[in-house]
Symmetry: C2
Subunit: 350 residues, 2 copies
DNA sequence: TGAGTTTGCTAAAACGATTGAGCGACAGTG
DNA sequence: CACTGTCGCTCAATCGTTTTAGCAAACTCA
């Protein structure tokens, strides 16, 4: 069965297509209720909804937004950004056209072009993780950067507040009574922005608490469980009086490695060692034993924010500035008070 | 700067819009090379690309496909289906409009409507995991089901071959020499389709190998590490001569729980116990220690297949039948030969 | 030379909505 | 009664393409 057009409805209701359009869009109050009712009845009856393509051509607005990302879709990591974007789009009657460029510049250029050709009303340019990008050319006017910031401003951007997140993590540890707190960092080059920022937060809280930072407590490893494990081994090899009682890990996967390292020495978490991670990756943080206390990346909220400003339903408090989104702490069971004695902890598990 | 239209190019090249269109679409061989070159030069110069909305209206084809899913985007699980769909779409010059319904029937209905209004050329209806769904009404003609099968046929569908996948997993264990192989199943009600199918594969291979199935070796637990752990505990509590030497776990998360249970008894994997999982969830399978041998769900391939048939660039070998996609085994380090003796394995770790 | 064919292009009609201008009927007013 | 306003609707243009039909000139051939 072919689609029903506005002219079909018009014929059925005995009016012109103009009238149908006017009624369907509530655009002319002068049309008497009876006629409105008649039109609406006909439309419902026939299951009419306007063809978006035709409408788009006429109104120059398609009720779609483009979402281009480097690898958001193919990776488990940041799906909730997409969910946030999606939800906002739906709330405002928009559809989202997603294109995952696989971080290929040619694909990206082509995608942006294609989205422009499709007349998306807005574009959100998303990255997998917090980074600085050189904004591609020919971006639509309404473009918002998500989880990345363009080198040259000009478009709104939202990223996680990694510094504050780092501070939150460390503050949790300090509040539990720890004073020897290590930062299990990544050793990638160039260092991810998040790394430096979280470290800043770490130092800030140490300063707040009057704890002198010990360079030996800042270790690095690959971004993986294995990397976290070997970095943690370095820490646990320190002499008793310098060994940390708590770890702030760059992310949950590295924290998982820290668990392994601790377990291999018979250390109990959190009795002998407290750990806080970052990212709140369900599959790892919640499944660890004990479940990991961690700082969540506000992916969903960032996705919402970006889409709201792209759609123009929200204006940045401080246009021009990069919006920092708060990273909340998720308390689970990997943080406790430091062990009473500095002595060698039991090698037996309870 | 406003978009450049075909009429701008026509003016610049000193021809009519018809000619420009004809040239751009290679539709009339009678236009002499010089004119073609002139038109193309003008178009390139001005950066002209046709407005997809206008073209869509005229040609009744938008070069977009709709992808509606229950929760594919918001969950780490099946992102690669999306990637497969995306890649195929791009290869054929299409864009994908994604809508995640959150498994809400109203949202779904509305989304399908909206996609139809936008005149998507095809629709793929994706599910998070292999299930039977009652196909919603008013689906576009070119609809394909992905990772689910409609109760009433009528549209092509593709799902993983869970039975064969189960067989593959168990065959791996049999090949390593195991004879007492347990199936750590899920205990959800109703049981997921995959559960029954994988169990069938399990039984099939046992039969092949002349091994009598032992009902005590079929245990169940919640779909989580905790569930896997407690189910495994049941198994490890069995008397020595009935205790399994190998586990086939319903999925990787449960396998992770099995690791925990094994470790708590001082069992080494794979020396004392071999384990194979299912799903190949990177974050868990690859990060376990030792890395988990598992059977992969062919999400990417299914996404590709579904999109190819939706786009009409591939026709199902057997239209009407549900396409079963092979689940390949990913060999890592959690499978080894059974322990030489049936005696009590060491409680010390190496 | 004239008829037919080919060449090189264009006019104009779609596609299906939205929307500003406007028209006829009627009511109200002076 | 003439004039103005309002009401209830419609006309027709428009958005930017694609595509069919076809025109005029050049060419071919008998």
């Amino acid at each position: 069965m072919p689609r029903v057009r506005i002219s079909d409805v018009a014929a059925a209701a005995g009016v012109s297509t103009s009238t149908v359009s006017l009624v369907m869009n509530d655009r002319d109050a002068r049309i008497p209720p009876e006629t409105q009712a008649r039109v609406r009845a006909a439309a419902d009856e026939m299951g009419y909804t306007p063809n978006s393509v035709a409408r788009g051509l006429r109104t120059q607005t398609t009720r779609t937004i483009g979402l281009v990302s480097d690898t958001i879709a193919t990776t488990p990591y940041a799906g909730r950004m997409l969910a946030g974007a999606q939800d906002v789009a739906r709330e405002h009657g928009h559809l989202v056209i997603l294109v995952d460029t696989g971080a290929d510049a040619d694909v990206e250029r082509e995608a942006i072009r294609a989205l422009a050709d499709h007349q998306v009303d807005a574009l959100v340019y998303a990255c997998m993780w917090h980074q600085v990008v050189s904004a591609p050319d020919h971006l639509p006017a309404r473009t918002v950067f998500l989880d990345c910031r363009p080198v040259d401003a000009g478009h709104p951007a939202v990223v996680p507040d990694d510094r504050a997140g780092g501070a939150t993590a460390v503050r949790e540890l300090v509040a539990a009574g720890h004073r020897r707190i290590a930062f299990v960092d990544v050793d990638e080059a160039p260092a991810p922005i998040a790394s430096g920022l979280r470290f800043e937060g770490y130092l800030e809280v140490l300063r707040e608490a009057g704890i002198a930072p010990d360079p030996a407590l800042h270790v690095r490893g690959a971004v993986s469980a294995a990397g976290g494990r070997s970095a943690t081994d370095l820490l646990l090899d320190l002499p008793d009086d310098r060994r940390p009682t708590a770890l702030f890990c760059f992310n949950d996967r590295m924290a998982a490695g820290a668990y392994v390292a601790a377990r291999h020495r018979g250390l109990d978490i959190p009795r002998d060692l407290s750990i806080v991670g970052f990212d709140d990756q369900q599959l790892v943080a919640a499944e660890l034993d004990p479940p990991l206390t961690t700082v969540a990346l506000p992916h969903y909220e960032m996705g919402r924010w970006a889409t709201e400003v792209a759609l123009g339903v929200r204006t940045p408090d401080d246009p021009g500035a990069v919006r920092l989104m708060e990273c909340p702490i998720i308390r689970r069971d990997s943080v406790g008070p430091p062990p009473a004695t500095g002595g060698d902890p039991s090698r037996r598990r309870t």
